[in-house]
Amino acid sequence: MSESSVLWEETVEPGAAWSHVLKRGTSLLLTDMEGGANVGAVFYNFECPAERFNLPDTLKAQHIARLTKGCVLYSDMGRILCSITEDSVGWHDPLGGCSNAAWVACKFGEAPYQQFRNNCFRNGRDGFLVELEKWGLGPRDLTANVNFFSRVTVSEDGSMTFHPRNSMSRSHVELRAEMNVLVVLNTCQHPLDPNPKYEPKPVRLSIRKARPTGAADPCRRFRPENSRGFTLTERYFA
């Protein structure tokens, strides 16, 4: 995609949270600047936030337990919030959830603002909840989240394994908004990351004009289910 399509860019600092209404027809490019980043994210229909990202529907409609290019993120209403239009990583985790204050304190110790100023330790759940409150949403609205740049595999017996070094420096993933989507994200570490140190990573955001989608769109053709998901999304705007 040409640089001229870039509307604006921003770097989300390590461990920070961010929210934005990504407009239909624009895209959000996430870039892991240093390698080893994690971006926890949840998604809502901005016009009616009771319609929100539905993890099980996303997984079962596409028969996946991983996210990559071609996959879409479904709302609970059978519509598509965002499509994954580019991906240099190949595996983003939908299973692990987000960190919380108790987990961070237990794993990394305490680092409150009073002593550590803006290097204080942050966690995924609180980051989500504070951003959600800014849009009139609360704990009831915090759904299961996805974790971009992280990989968790499941073995035959169901056990889960986190894979460090899944994402290298400059790895990127692009989300195209299929409706006006409230995107809430944070750059906290993945809660299965075995790294004993508090070391969240910065992530570069680039908001761009998206190319129009057509019948040959790879996300639409990824599964027959996705074709119907796009149809239902188009009906919403018809």
Binding site: L55, A102, R228
Partner: protein, 218 residues
């Protein structure tokens, strides 16, 4: 997976509450701390979509992601603690004669059926219809936002090491059950799944029985 099957010592004749829930119907009930809740797959291969809430604060509710992450395994069975969104233990699975249960597949909805099968499936009954009917009738201020990622007792949704997920024929059979101890006062919400489009109910949804033993640990 060869799970360890664990039977309960409690006899059905001592239960303080028993209810047969027909296929396609919801069931909602408070389960006090220390009580035991058993769900019986009466005829086999029946998915039981289930949600749990802190009975005193519905914003503190079952979290599938916290539950699987805490135990490091996506399947639920004896020994699994059901973790809430605030990190509390809602229930513990104390007996399980089925072996494993799903918490990734979620509930069927008419909207997701349209995506998964065909746009014409909109008018087939689905779990979310039952969930919504139950919380409206409960009249405690719950709404769609409280219908979160649920447990599917007796349902088989394997995930492969390369990241694929499928709905397979059930691993359950007639009379198999799962039993849970309430670790706090809990509200339990069940949809006895009416799905006809995949093998989760063996293409034949059937009744379940719910039993409660109150005051066992007091």
């Amino acid at each position: 997976m060869s799970a360890l099957l664990v039977e309960s010592q409690r006899g059905a004749h001592n239960a303080t509450y028993r209810c047969v829930v027909p296929a396609g119907e919801p069931w909602l009930h408070e389960v006090p701390k220390g009580s035991y809740l058993r769900i019986v797959d009466l005829e086999g291969n029946q998915a039981v979509d289930t949600l749990f809430y802190n009975a005193h604060d519905y914003t503190d509710r079952y979290s599938a992601q916290d539950t699987i992450r805490q135990q490091g395994n996506i399947y639920l069975t004896t020994g699994t603690s059901l973790i809430s969104s605030s990190g509390n233990v809602l229930m513990k699975i104390v007996a399980d004669t089925c072996g494993r249960h799903d918490t990734l597949g979620g509930a069927c909805a008419v909207e997701s059926n349209m995506v998964r099968y065909s746009l014409e499936k909109r008018y087939m009954h689905a779990c979310r219809q039952s969930f919504l009917k139950a919380i409206v009738e409960w009249e405690h201020g719950m709404d769609k936002r409280d219908i979160t990622s649920n447990i599917n007792f007796f349902m088989n949704v394997p995930v492969t090491p390369d990241g694929q997920l499928s709905f397979e024929d059930g691993v359950s059979g007639p009379g198999k059950y799962v039993e849970l101890r309430a670790e706090m006062d809990v509200l339990a919400l069940i949809s006895n799944c009416p799905q006809l489009n995949n093998p989760c109910n063996g293409y034949n949804p059937t009744p379940i029985e719910v039993l409660i033993w109150e005051g066992q640990d007091r």
